[in-house]
């Protein structure tokens, strides 16, 4: 009997350390499926961030480097500039990319580096223990904003996809989500499109994925999905911010 659904070969068989209800596992799978479909496992190098996905190299079955906080785009630049034939992706969270690594991502995008960034936005620092991120919502409680994010003190949450789409260098910049199957299907298409643009040497690409963090939000997985849909998606609107064809 033909097997119609199985683990992508670009994932290892290792159990992940992610919390119940975490969306990293879904995102890992979408990337691994894409790598399998494009037949690029043998020439792909991933870059893990600092944060919950720091151990992503245990789960992806391809070459991997581990970056310092926020520096993944600089490392990806280094790889891609000396080995343009390799397929390179960075996997970064919002503390990593939108706070300490803002300089690196902006400049890599603006130079049009030919790699792909998967940006997981769940509005908090995960691994460090639920601290406020640049993407934390107004009044959202975190361990460093116990009374809720005060926008008069901390500003409004950063919309990364729109920010990078404001750069003129041609790029594929999109925001998708993985909180429900209907969003996951679109997210998969976006990830695949981003990798295809890289394969063709077209442009830098960034796929922002609105995700959940039930543990640090203090919610059940189901409550987290519902809150993301009602409170995050109106602010972090889904869709393409920029395509190379524009």
């Amino acid at each position: 009997m033909a097997r119609v659904f199985q683990k992508p070969k670009s994932l290892t068989s290792t159990y992940t350390h992610y919390c119940p209800g975490c969306t990293h596992g879904v995102i890992h799978r979408l990337i691994a499926e894409t790598i399998d479909e494009l037949g690029i496992q043998g020439r792909t190098v991933g870059i893990a961030p600092v944060g919950c996905a720091v151990l992503a190299y245990h789960y992806f079955n391809c070459d991997f480097q581990e970056a310092a906080h926020g520096r993944a785009p600089a490392m990806a630049t280094g790889i891609k500039r000396v080995r343009p034939d390799l397929m390179v992706f960075t996997y970064q969270g919002d503390g990593d990319l939108a706070s300490i690594g803002m300089g690196e991502i902006i400049h890599a995008a603006n130079r049009g580096e030919k790699f792909t960034t998967i940006f997981v936005n769940n509005t908090v620092y995960g691994m460090t223990g639920g601290q406020m991120a640049p993407t934390t919502m107004p009044n959202q409680k975190t361990t460093t904003s116990p009374n809720g994010r005060d926008i008069t003190n901390c500003g409004m949450p950063v919309k990364v996809a729109e920010l990078i789409a404001a750069l003129q260098t041609p790029a594929y910049i999109t925001r998708q989500s993985v909180i429900k199957p209907k969003y996951i299907i679109k997210a998969k298409k976006a990830i695949r499109k981003a990798f295809e643009y890289q394969m063709a040497g077209t442009c830098f690409s960034l796929v922002e994925l609105v995700s959940t963090c039930p543990t640090n939000w203090g919610k059940t997985p189901l409550e987290a999905v519902q809150w993301a849909e009602t409170d995050l998606l109106p602010y972090y609107q889904l869709g393409d911010c920029k395509t190379p064809d524009e």
Binding site: E66, M75, V82
Partner: protein, 360 residues
């Protein structure tokens, strides 16, 4: 090959190319910006890669990423920039990635100044970034020696899978001298397939490679740090380089000095010889590993009454001199900072003062 007249900074850039390094990531900073300027026009001529990074922090991670992918890479900067790169250098050392860094030192701390200094001795030899690591540190005293050290640095970085740093100063970078590029020194890179993330297809394998510096489980961090220590111990056995001057005389005092300062000391030693005062000099060419035994033996010579560390810094290398002399001779320090390079007569006066204060 005939000698050519070149500025130190440009010669350093050319030396890297001659050593087979065709990848440069860097960021402009005085007094070494000519290296980046030179390579921005030279790299395309040799089908090499030049990229101006957005910061020294980013440059150090471009180096890390490219080195981890198996490429021969280097970057250059000056003191404040090396502080920023030190984060990436620590990661390179932890993940055992070979790369070459050049520091054309300027005065510090802070923005300091743009004139020559040796104020980064501690940073280069004792730390810089966080954690248990060392760099292999080479200190040239001429443009010719800078060229030779840069060319040696790449194979050494690959032999040890560890960053190597060339510790020059603003004078080495800015002055012009005749140089001759050694030929046939382009060594083949070592086999990097065992560890480099150069793609499984490249290695014709289905085994992935990981380059990482996080060791959470059990005593894996301890094991990694012991592995690093074993390499540093091996460097101490195999890589010490040291020169000397007037060392066969019955010198009354010994100068220990490196880089630009040691050139001034050579002239001072000649001047003192004419006055009948014999002073010897040991000039470490590697600052890590430090030539402990050579300095010690020279200091303990029966004729030698006192040892002086001559620096363009406010008492840094003197700590290593004190360490190896082990109290068997008085150790003094003389130094200047702020970008001033002393005249030979100042060295002469200081040595006369020191000898007078430590009469036999």
């Amino acid at each position: 090959m005939a000698k050519v007249l070149m500025k130190g900074n440009e010669a350093i850039g050319e030396a890297a190319i001659r050593a087979g390094c065709l990848n440069y990531f860097g960021y402009p900073i005085t007094p070494q910006s000519e290296i980046a300027e030179y390579l921005s026009r030279r790299m395309p001529e040799v089908n090499g890669m030049f990229l101006q990074a957005e910061s020294e922090v980013a440059a150090s991670y471009m180096i890390f990423g490219a080195a981890a992918a198996g490429a021969r890479v280097f970057t250059t900067s000056s003191s404040p920039g090396i502080s920023l790169m030190s984060e990436g250098i620590s990661y390179c050392a932890a993940a055992q990635c070979p790369a070459v860094f050049v520091n054309i030192m300027r005065g510090g701390p802070g923005l300091g100044g743009i004139l020559p200094s040796q104020g980064d001795y501690f940073q280069a030899t004792k730390g810089g970034g966080h954690g248990d690591y060392h760099l292999l540190v080479m200190a040239p005293y001429s443009v010719q020696e800078a060229v030779e050290m840069v060319m040696k640095a790449f194979p050494l970085a690959e032999k040890y899978r560890n960053p190597v740093i060339i510790l020059g100063d603003g004078l080495i970078g800015q002055m012009m001298e005749p140089v001759e590029f050694p030929e046939n020194l382009v060594s083949q890179p070592t086999n990097k397939d065992e560890w480099a993330t150069n793609g499984m297809d490249t290695r014709k394998t289905t085994q992935r490679n990981l380059v990482r510096s996080l060791f959470l489980v059990g005593n894996s961090l301890e094991e990694n740090n012991r592995c690093l220590k074993a390499k540093y111990d091996q460097m101490k056995k195999e890589e010490i380089q040291c020169a000397d001057y007037n060392i066969d005389s019955d010198y009354e005092a010994l100068i220990v000095s490196y880089g630009t300062m040691s050139r001034v000391c050579r002239t001072a030693i000649d001047l003192m010889k004419k006055e009948g005062i014999e002073v010897g000099m040991v000039r470490p060419q590697t600052l890590f590993p430090y030539p402990d035994k050579i300095v010690q033996q020279a200091a303990w010579k029966p004729s030698c009454r006192v040892v002086t560390s001559m620096e363009l810094s406010m008492g840094q290398m003197v700590e290593d001199v004190e360490r190896v002399v082990q109290g068997k001779r008085p150790v003094t320090w003389f130094g200047v900072a702020g970008g001033i390079v002393p005249a030979p007569e100042e060295i002469v006066n200081e040595m006369k003062r020191v000898l007078h204060a430590h009469q036999s």
